[in-house]
Symmetry: C2
Subunit: 462 residues, 2 copies
């Protein structure tokens, strides 16, 4: 290694103080998921290619694996890196079905890989945090409310992030509405849904033209389809507005009932920062969702698209005899964290976990400083011992550069003192009992200056 | 997916109760590393192939990446998955040197991949936990003692694992000894070291023959080389025994001084479960270590080889102008955890994080059960609400199958009761304040029966 290595576009890496921010996103997520009874699992990074490309979809930008010393006899040519956590999870459920208890709640925080062109919030390697509840044969609707509540609870605790708007809809509602309008079941409904899903990218007039030309619906139908897609509300008042469009179908009734139950079921958790609204334009493309669908916008980063998506699938997995319905949401951790670090200078207030630097008087007395550090660690105060017995001023500047708030001066005969180097206050202290104020114990996330610069992620073209 | 998927050999996956064991290994590691001031970072999974194969070593079983829709213009053919965390860390240090503070302490718990043939404790995908301290230009020896102490502290806290024997040696000691015997510097010393490193696989007589035939040393030299390799001690008494061999060289003196300082420096941490001993046969192959070297044996699993290795490298990284010396240890988390799960039935006593199952009286009163769950979670009691309003007996059996210790019965007018289903004891309780005894709050690791069977890892031939 004789030249300075350069970052790889699409593979963001964080500096220590930035990684602490990411960790302070992931830790509360895990805590909330476990409070709600979700078990953490990890799946392997690779899947057989036929699993990754099931349903004949070869459009995915999958990374294939090949061993450097591949022997033709071994079939590793058929392995690829997973591009999400849903495909491996569905496979895990089938593989272990006999050893799991259903309904099975699991969370999974892992990396995934896609070979697509990098852009803001879109990476080739990224971390996702998924929650799903999976049933065997049946999964009552109240689990749709449950996963929504869990994710709202989790997002609410990420206080240092901007606000979130969770948009919910229901496939049954849309499909029932289209069927009630006389659109043909199957391809007809799918085509209308596919075109409506373009409303976030194309002007409404253009989508209307496409509905007439490509889906072959009449003008009145097109207008009502588009009218439905304009409806959004933070409470269940959308039901009345849909009813006013004078369309009826049993599937529409079912969808309206589910969606209003969902909106009512999370109303008590909604705050200014984390909102939930019914948005009847959300359809989640042509995915495999069959009921509830979710998307989430991050305030101030709406152009990035959805950062937290999911929904209900009546057949997450099936082995031919048994079907496993599921409902889940996936939060794009990297999608949220990396752009925020880059754009807002979000960082931790120190680049090390240490709350205390224990000064070293001279190298002969390094043991005494180590003993202080051990005493502090024994009651969970993170600390480090100065690397050299430099002048105290230099040792204090060493702590300052790392953002370590306290410097400990070991004294003879147990006369220790500890200095808050932010205020200059210095007091006598006992290493066996002293602890900093709680907010100083762990690095704090700040939006001000960073302690060690900008993220190494670059958006340059390769 | 119409057939049951099969596990992939070498890619172990854990059931939920097993993953909890792994998590209860990783969490204390992270806690200890942070207490010692080590900052957590993650590096990307991929590196350019020339980094992975530096020093011309093409023997590594590296996985190469290729995008499914590779365009010839893009150079992704040159990327591979990292096979350890040291190569990416060295690259990270060089890439970010201007934004890091030195000495830089970092820990890294991540997966790595090797395309080698799977065997016990050797996987194609595995988790490692690495700690390193890296300096700029210089790194005092006391950091060798530091990383040893940190790892001993960490291993000591993993109470439910078997004991560990950390074996330490020093390259300077061995090299100085050989030089003092008159073995030629450079290739001569390297060749003797390479042969001595075979002592854990070949009988001593065979190694002696090879020393004579391949390294070309005389019989007396061979005998003393082999005698040195028999020396081991839990304290610094090895110094006398080396001195008794009557060899002298300045490098030998330096090595003896360092190794005895290391053994003395960790003596206060040694227990019956986690021992440290100087073992003068350890050389860590032909790796890039230049001073201290570590290996670790897991009691009862000695045949697996070292599960925690590392050492001092005077040039972890260099950009031609600046050199970054480092010292570090890498713990093979999968190497320890997966064989233990398979062989000893180690598991968690429940398959879900929930300490409480909140029963549901009837579906109309599910809200009341949800309210109890929210109240419990508000003071950090993990719980879940029963999926159906089945008869209470059935709900209790539902909890039993998951190993959930408590079932909560919501009553009218706030007359709640909670039952310990292991003892049958049932008491009145307030969801706003009730908490289980601390040991019941989180899943416990047990070595008895498993709640959900054996690990899915298989050792079958592919």
């Amino acid at each position: 290694m004789s030249t300075k290595p350069r970052p790889l576009s699409g593979f963001p890496e964080l500096l220590p103080a930035q990684r602490m921010v990411e960790q302070q996103v992931v830790d509360p997520l895990r805590h909330v998921f476990e409070l709600h009874g979700f078990a953490g699992i990890e799946t392997r990074a690779v899947e057989p290619l036929d699993q990754l490309l099931r349903k004949g979809d070869t459009s995915k930008e999958v990374y294939l694996l090949r061993r450097l010393h591949e022997e033709s006899a071994e079939g590793h040519a058929g392995l690829g890196l997973h591009f999400d956590l849903t495909v491996p999870f569905a496979r895990y459920v089938l593989e272990n079905a006999g050893r799991l208890e259903f309904p099975f709640r699991r969370y999974q925080v892992q990396k995934a890989w896609r070979g697509e062109r990098p852009q803001e919030g879109r990476f080739r390697e990224f971390t996702q945090a998924d929650i799903d509840v999976v049933g065997r044969d049946v999964l009552p609707f109240h689990h749709d409310v449950e996963v929504t509540r869990v994710m709202v609870d989790a997002l609410t605790r990420l206080q240092f992030l901007p606000g979130f708007r969770l948009q919910v809809n229901n496939r049954k509602l849309i499909q029932g509405f289209y069927l009630g309008l006389g659109v043909a079941e199957g391809d007809g409904v799918d085509e209308v849904m596919r075109l409506v899903d373009k409303l976030d990218k194309l002007p409404v007039e253009r989508v209307r033209e496409m509905l007439l030309a490509e889906a072959g619906v009449d003008e009145q139908t097109a207008d009502r389809v588009l009218e439905l897609a304009t409806i959004r509300s933070g409470d269940d008042s959308f039901v009345e507005r849909v009813r006013a469009l004078d369309v009826s179908h049993p599937l529409l009734d079912e969808g309206l009932e589910e969606l209003s139950a969902l909106v009512r079921g999370v109303a008590d958790l909604v705050t200014d920062r984390v909102r939930v609204e019914a948005d009847l334009s959300i359809a989640r493309g042509l995915d495999y969702y069959t009921g509830t669908v979710f998307e989430t916008r991050l305030d101030g980063f709406e152009s990035m698209g959805s950062i937290c998506s999911g929904g209900r699938y009546d057949a997450l997995a099936t082995d031919g005899r048994t079907t496993y319905p599921g409902v889940g949401i996936s939060l794009g951790v990297s999608r949220v964290v990396v752009p925020l670090l880059a754009r807002t200078g979000l960082s931790a207030d120190r680049s090390v976990p240490s709350a205390v630097l224990v000064a070293v008087v001279d190298e002969e007395r390094r043991d005494a400083s180590e003993a202080v550090a051990s005493a502090l660690r024994a009651h969970d105060v993170p600390c480090e011992v100065a690397p050299t017995a430099a002048k105290f001023g230099k040792q204090i500047r060493f702590a300052e550069r790392r953002g370590i708030p306290y410097v400990w001066f070991p004294g003879d005969a147990g006369s220790h003192e500890v200095k808050d180097i932010r205020t200059g206050e210095q007091v006598a202290a006992d290493p066996a009992t002293w602890t900093p104020p709680a907010p100083d114990l762990r690095p704090r996330v700040t939006t001000g200056q960073t302690t060690d610069g900008q993220p190494t992620e670059t958006q340059e073209k390769q």
